[in-house]
């Protein structure tokens, strides 16, 4: 091969590098190892992590333990989906393209909006991008955020806005846990109001009221979700007036994987299409008139529009989108709904147990979906440690997130939670070893 290139030594391939820039030593990276060895090493690391397959699990807070139907991984791991890339060349990427089109369609149905993109990195950055989009649409610079926004999403939003000519205001949480627009944070400068549904603390928000308030001020209502399954039970945010719906769709068949890769999404009304970030797939026809799909409207995107693009996003979360598309297809119209009802029933059962358990309380009155706050009568870390010692992961310590509630945990019950395990977890939280 070298001869064909006109060289004699492999070395010469790098002649263009100024010698001072060459690395004079080998990399300080351990010697390569065989598959057997690497697997053993990584299995040893994996064995050091607590995980949701090992026992009862009630920790959610933006990353949810749901059952993953076997067909999802079986299909998604097909090499044609896994080892292909962004479907730039439509004729040889129709599999990916059609699936994205199907995802867009289903996401529109779930959110009640007209257009949805082919994924954002995660719920947090999708929320930040939604805020930026609202600022572009409204040409305003103030972003109002409910206190109920997931604290990490909130932090990411701050990161994205820092350096820009933007202002971030926080709207308070009402006594029952729901957001209020009290304090008149929404005004003629406000680009959008961002409301999480259900809120970080599990409260189901009144979106219609929020929409009215936002729209009255000429602002957009952005609804963000970290538990997308709630969309199967709660009214489509678009139907209640939301202009942008964004968030995290990890609950649709994507493994928790210590927080990623997950599946950010962003849906909007047609009117705002040109300001939407991210990839879009559209329908078209081939030279013989047969239906097919292509990436489209890319004049919004960085590879065409560069610094005037709607975002810098390029590689997104393609395979997670594929997981969610397969998942929604499997669960389908009735399955997804019933699954959401089952989640609700499990959480309501847990709430009932809490009510019956001395020493525990429900500090927030607002209705919830599959997650809610349990008030404790001792520090949460002690209660959670006791539960963990009994093999139960009983929720998230809220000390850092909502100290005003006193000792409390955020408790999530999905379809994976058996009644018996809920009983055990509540008992453990209350101080009784079960």
């Amino acid at each position: 091969m070298l001869a064909r290139i006109g060289l004699e030594r492999l070395e010469e391939l790098f002649a263009a590098l100024p010698s001072g820039l060459r690395l004079a030593r080998g990399l300080k990276v351990p010697e390569g190892r065989a598959e057997q060895e690497v697997l053993a090493q990584l299995m040893a690391l994996a064995a050091q992590n607590e995980h949701a397959q090992a026992g009862p699990w009630f920790l959610g807070a933006g990353c949810y333990a749901h059952f993953l139907p076997s067909a999802v991984d079986a299909l998604v791991s097909r090499a044609e989906f896994t080892t292909s890339y962004t479907p730039y060349q439509a004729e040889i990427s129709q599999g990916t393209l059609q699936a994205i089109f199907e995802w867009q369609t289903m996401l529109c149905a779930l959110t009640g909006l007209d257009v949805a993109n082919a994924s954002m990195y995660d719920g947090a950055s999708a929320t930040a991008e939604a805020a930026l989009m609202a600022m572009r649409v409204t040409r305003r610079r103030k972003v109002a955020v409910s206190a109920g926004l997931h604290p990490s999403y909130r932090q990411v939003l701050e990161t994205y806005l820092r350096g820009l000519d933007a202002e971030l205001v926080t709207l308070p949480r009402g006594a029952d846990g729901r957001s209020t627009a009290a304090g008149a944070g929404i005004d003629g400068e406000t680009a959008c109001w961002i409301v999480q549904q259900p809120s970080f603390l599990g409260c189901v928000e009144d979106l219609a009221a929020a929409a009215a308030t936002a729209h009255d001020a000429g602002a957009l209502l952005v609804v963000t979700l970290s538990e997308a399954l709630s969309l199967a039970l709660l009214a489509a945010p678009g139907d209640l007036g939301a202009d942008l719906v964004c968030g995290e769709a990890q609950s649709f068949g994507v493994p928790m994987s210590f927080g990623g890769p997950h599946l950010g999404f962003l849906a909007a009304r047609s009117a705002h299409l040109r300001q939407l970030p991210g990839r879009l797939v559209g329908q078209t026809v081939d030279a013989e008139g047969k239906r097919g799909f292509v990436l489209t409207l890319s004049t919004r995107e960085q590879h065409i529009r560069r610094e005037r693009a709607t975002s810098n996003i390029c590689t997104n979360q393609g395979l997670c989108l594929m997981m969610a598309t397969v998942y929604l297809a499997l669960l389908g119209r009735h399955g997804l709904r019933e699954l959401a009802e089952l989640n609700l029933a499990k959480a309501e059962y847990a709430k009932g147990r809490v009510r019956q358990t001395p020493g525990l309380s429900l500090p927030l009155d607002a209705p919830s979906f599959n997650e809610f706050v349990i008030g404790l009568s001792e520090p949460a870390d002690a209660a959670l440690a006791r539960a963990r010692a009994a093999g139960v992961v009983a929720g998230l310590d809220l000390a850092a997130h909502a100290p005003e509630l006193g000792p409390a945990v955020l408790f999530c019950a999905t379809e994976l939670a058996s009644r018996e395990s809920i009983d055990r977890a509540i008992a453990l939280l209350a101080g009784r070893s079960s």
Partner: protein, 495 residues
């Protein structure tokens, strides 16, 4: 020439919604062991009625649907996928297995650090490894892809300047840069100033010098650049930027060419991202997920995103104690599943294996250039690094364009190269074979491209109307953009 592909059997498949039939379901739910709840009584108007927009299908329907769809895709596992700038290398199957271990795949980001020591140890070690490979001091694993890494890097650059009381307003970006570079700078509020590449394809110190002033926060540079050339003036350019108080951002998308050969950190780069889905072989997944860790020199370390993993006596812990941090960039800890795969990849290859990647990737690109350079116009001749850029200029008289050549390659079973990028090369064909390809595979591909060039003269119409063997013929992208149909609707007539 031995054939790579030709006519075969193609399956048809309608949309999920068209296949839907009332009453079907693809997943049964467990029997509830708790009382039923009347959602409407509980939630009132917040409850919706039904999900008519979702399909009704059985498991076999769904399995066939997606299995059939999959047969319409090209893939690295099916053959050469020489998409330039994307480093479509082979993704070892071990890494898929690793990512699915329950101790990783079912771990939760909010578990207390003591309960996930294996993952934190891995984060810590991977950061060290990436820093060493890049020749940098510290690394954040949070960014979900290269572009988010760029954004993080630009934010750190802003924080760095602001910490010094400076408000710089613009970022220099060469005209050959990938679109994410200017977009990332703009997303963080910088004015983007384009710097022209030289006629020889290199970025010249003079051009940078002319554009550089104290209002410039940074230069973003890609090395090797998008023409596949090693920016030979890189050291001098970095000095110029540094002299005016600016920083240099390195776009590490092309790091594959340099593994173990040279390190951006040693060239003067201050901040850079790496695309783990390119250089470190995590699968591209039809458009992600990727991962875009960012490496920085020590002066930028105070500005890394939080949380960071720290090592203490008891093991590893998260720390948010970084007052200069740009903040959080990801809802959790980044695309961890991809980090795991990249880690397994680095452990598998080791120092020598990584260096071998670079050597073979560069060898392969130069070999293709040598084989193709006569038939296709080479806008910037010379030894390239991991990829080579050709153009359709030599075919002008045939009426055959780069687009046509790309589509004709599909008929031969190849995913086309990146086309019409970099923008400074009209009709660019950007070919990155990667180290995964064998000599005979390269020869077969080169033979095919040469045959297409020849066919363009002999029978241009066949090339211009390609592809011919795929289930769908050439798709009308203009129509799609002019009359956007972005979701299926019941009244939509299916064809």
């Amino acid at each position: 020439m031995s054939r790579n592909a030709g006519p075969g059997l193609g399956y048809e498949e309608a949309l999920l919604f068209e296949r839907s039939r009332p009453g079907r379901r693809g997943a049964e739910l467990p029997t509830s062991d708790v009382p039923r709840v009347d959602a409407r009584a509980l939630l009132g108007g917040a409850v919706r009625d039904d999900l008519p927009g979702l399909p009704e299908l059985s498991e076999v329907d769904v399995v066939r649907h997606f299995t059939r769809l999959s047969t319409w895709n090209a893939a690295v596992d099916l053959g050469l996928y020489p998409l330039g700038s994307c480093t479509m290398k082979y993704n070892p199957k071990l890494n898929e297995r690793v990512a699915r271990l329950p101790g990783f795949a079912a771990a939760h980001p909010l578990s207390p650090a003591e309960q996930v020591q294996g993952l934190l140890a891995l984060f810590y070690d991977l950061e060290q490894l990436l820093a060493e490979i890049a020749g940098m001091d510290r690394v954040t694993l949070q960014p979900a892809a290269g572009a988010q890494g760029e954004l993080a890097g630009i934010m750190m650059i802003r924080a760095y300047h602001e910490a010094r009381g400076e408000k710089r307003r613009s970022v220099l970006v060469p005209d050959s840069a990938h679109g994410t570079n200017p977009a990332s700078a703009a997303l963080n509020g910088y004015r983007v100033v384009s710097v022209a590449s030289g006629a020889d394809g290199f970025l010249h110190p003079e051009a940078v010098g002319a554009a550089m002033d104290p209002s410039v926060a940074a230069l973003m540079i890609t090395n090797p650049n998008t023409l596949g050339l090693f920016e030979r003036h890189i050291a001098e350019i970095c000095e110029i930027v540094h002299a005016k108080g600016g920083l240099v951002y390195g776009d590490g998308a092309n790091l594959n060419a340099l593994l173990g050969i040279a390190r951006p950190g040693d060239m003067g780069i201050d901040v850079m991202h790496m695309n783990l889905h390119k250089t470190f072989s995590t699968p591209h997944g039809g458009g992600g997920p990727g991962a875009g860790p960012v490496a920085v020199k020590a002066p930028l370390a105070p500005h890394l995103p939080i949380p960071v993993v720290v090592r203490n006596d008891g093991g590893y812990a998260w720390s948010e104690d970084l007052p200069g941090s740009i903040g959080r960039l990801h809802g959790h800890h980044g695309n961890v599943g991809m980090l795991l795969r990249a880690y397994a990849y680095i452990l598998s290859l080791g120092a020598e294996g990584l260096t071998r990647c670079a050597e073979l990737a560069v060898l392969n690109a130069n070999y293709l250039l040598a084989r193709l350079g006569d038939a296709f116009h080479v806008p910037y001749p010379g030894t390239v690094m991991h990829e080579c850029v050709l153009s359709d200029r030599g075919l002008a008289d045939t009426g055959v364009t780069t687009m046509d050549v790309a589509k004709r390659l599909i008929d031969h079973g190849y995913h086309p190269p990146t086309i019409y990028f970099p923008l400074i090369v009209p009709g660019a064909l950007m070919i990155e074979p990667t180290e995964s390809e064998s000599l005979e595979g390269l020869d077969r591909f080169a033979d095919t491209l040469l045959a297409i060039a020849e066919e363009a003269r002999r029978d241009p119409e066949t090339v211009r109307s390609a592809p011919h063997h795929t289930r769908l013929r050439r798709l009308d992208e203009t129509l799609a953009a002019r009359r956007p149909v972005l979701r299926w609707q019941p009244d939509e007539t299916s064809r």
